[in-house]
Symmetry: C2
Subunit: 407 residues, 2 copies
């Protein structure tokens, strides 16, 4: 038995003809078309790309990039940083983001918005308001985005980095001000209420880079205060080195006790020199060049495989998002699957071997018995079944599935 049995369904297919008689002793072919597990990535250049703002060579380059992206991933994070989404109050970037979400959706991707409330990159114009007005603007903003995007984006990082939020002291900002006044728990309660009110069926996350006992206690406090948290977001930006299996499992153990799905929302393993350990805020590390190296790429691939295996093996983990698809994004880091000159790195192929290989039913030929029945076991997700030139689809969502197919 593998470590991944909880990711699989044991399926009984009962296949009939249109007239209701069983399709006996027939060959059918089953193919997986999508994972139930969310394998995701954040690549914000998808916004200009999907809005057809690129031209010539640039456009061609990104066509290849997103072809690769969609071959591997079924989940994408889109940027809703308030400072960029609505730099001028009342002029949100809704149309471009909608077009991007629609495009991703049409390609089979689930889309998540990130983040609705955060002290970093929050709207600078909040600074002119008093705290009551800031809170009002923040909640209005949440209601607006969550309701306007409902149907396209039904999953949101509602609030980001609450552990540090009220004590964040690098610069004054509206969100730290209100978090200081309300306290963490009341602010989280307010922003979650606004989001849930705007889309009761949405999936709403809290997200943090702090994986210490402080975040754990915060979640416990929120749950005791009656906040509905649909998933716990854990960042894992490992610019200073891979955590290793043991630390990852220790974190999983601590956060899984809440019995709430865990999303690894921001996973980074770089393919260049590691950031020095003495850097406390990753944003403080500024380099002109941060090259991807051959040894780095080998290490990155190996560590990413270990990390994905560790997470996929844990039943509470429902999503992993890589940060980002291309090198040279945040911190100019060699964090991507593709180098600046467009070369696909080993990490891509190694994860592909898992996600679309070991953990995937590429093509399975089954033969039905006298009753038109065939059994198999496969990773949960969407499937296509064909018999000669006829085709239909089904979903595997539970440990055991009984599925009737009519050809």
């Amino acid at each position: 038995m593998s470590n991944y049995e909880h990711r699989k369904s044991t399926v009984t297919l009962k296949i009939k003809r249109v007239d209701g008689t069983p399709l006996k002793n027939a060959e059918v072919v089953v193919r997986q078309t999508k994972h139930k597990f969310l394998f995701g990535c954040a690549e914000f250049s998808v916004v200009p790309f999907a809005n057809d703002e690129l031209q010539g060579k640039e456009k061609e380059k990104f066509e290849t990039v997103f072809e690769k992206f969609l071959e591997l991933f079924n989940f994408a994070t889109l940027p809703f940083y308030w400072a960029r989404f609505e730099p001028v109050k009342g002029k949100p970037d809704t149309i471009r983001l909608k077009k991007t979400a629609e495009w991703l959706l049409s390609k089979g991707c689930t889309v998540k918005g990130h983040p609705l409330c955060w002290h970093t990159l929050t709207a600078p114009w909040l600074l002119e308001m008093d705290n009551q007005q800031i809170l009002f603007a923040q909640l209005e903003r949440i209601r607006r985005e969550v309701s306007e995007f409902a149907g396209l984006i039904d999953m949101w990082d509602v609030i980001n980095e609450v552990v540090i939020m009220p004590i964040f002291n690098k610069y004054d900002n509206g969100i730290t001000r209100i978090c200081k006044e309300l306290g963490r728990i009341r602010l989280v309660k307010e922003v979650f209420s606004a989001a849930i009110e705007a889309n009761p069926d949405g999936i709403f996350l809290i997200n943090d880079f702090n994986t210490s006992v402080a975040y754990e206690i915060l979640i416990e406090g929120l749950l005791e205060a009656g906040v509905r948290i649909d998933a716990i977001g854990i960042q894992s930006h490992m610019h200073q080195g891979y955590w290793g299996v043991e630390k990852t499992q220790e974190i999983l153990e601590r956060f899984s006790r809440f019995n709430i799905p865990i999303h690894f929302t921001e996973t980074t393993i770089i393919s260049g020199n590691l950031m020095p350990p003495e850097i406390e805020d990753l944003n403080d590390y500024k380099v002109d060049e941060w090259p991807s190296t051959p040894e780095g790429e080998e290490r990155q691939a190996m560590e990413a495989v270990m990390h994905y295996k560790t997470l996929f093996a844990h039943p509470m983990v429902k999503a992993i998002t890589w940060w980002n698809f291309l090198d040279g994004g945040w911190l100019n880091a060699p964090a991507g699957f593709i180098t600046k000159d467009g070369r696909v790195k080993p990490v891509y192929y190694e994860l592909y071997k898992l996600i679309k290989g070991e953990w995937w039913i590429d093509k399975l030929t089954l033969v039905t018995d006298e009753n038109g029945t065939a059994n198999f076991s496969g990773y949960m997700g969407d499937y296509e079944i064909s018999c000669q030139d006829r085709k239909t689809t089904f979903k595997l969502e539970n440990k055991k599935e009984f599925i009737e197919i009519t050809f």
Copy 2:
């Protein structure tokens, strides 16, 4: 204006004769007899001493020790470590502890019990129980001690070191087991409810050595969950070096936002070599000899003065307890005011200069006016006023006081 104005009362004394006429132009002498602020110390040898278990030279030594103790302190912490208080189930050490509390009370000390629930030094016989039985025994124990000692001890460290409690992994123990199952907030809720039920007017503390954001968030979660916390206990065992004013103030700022009294429950500054910084759990540091040195004693005195001044200057701090009175107690550290050979260290005299000097009205001669009125300003606490051979007492508890005295 000093940093300590919030510790003082501005008093108008209105002094009359028994016949109701004002005592005009008369000399009265005011003396402080006790601080409102709790200046405390933990010295557990008080238990055998107060129970008259010592003999000969030992007894004489401790007579001097506790004379010194009572000259400086108005507050004492007594040990209720479950493993020692009730090593055999059903045979608690109640009588000895009661006698100790009575003795301290008779000497003018407020007494606090420490701790009612803690994973360290908890009853070993809990290990034979299931979690429901452990919780039941824990709550029963709390109800028993808090109600049996009511009137003698009305202040308790109800629960100790909750931040680490469910992840404490040095050895199996009953309290970690139930904290893991219930979660921190629910366990704290239960133990506080039991304590409050047993003595509704008691003062109940949570106490921790963890001063990080994790403890802060825990308190926020507890308050949101409706737990009545009467004071926040902060340990400050500085065996690895004095925190300094800045760190102390940063902690005070973070924990004072709850608007709940803060007690510095366990303050240690040693007068010997510092414990190496790499030691994480202070209990891991074992030495045969840990001498008090002349330079160490000078440093200890200076740092203690800074620490007490910083804490006394902060309006939310209501108590400071030193840990312990004599060298060679916990960890065999030179942490006390008195060396192993009975010499009183500079730290004692320096704190005496503050507590019974700078912050104390030793003797104030006032002259009443035509209306029998006299004004003065003094540190809050208990006072004695005398006029010739007559004497009475009053208390200063508020910023402004108007007190009528009849001689």
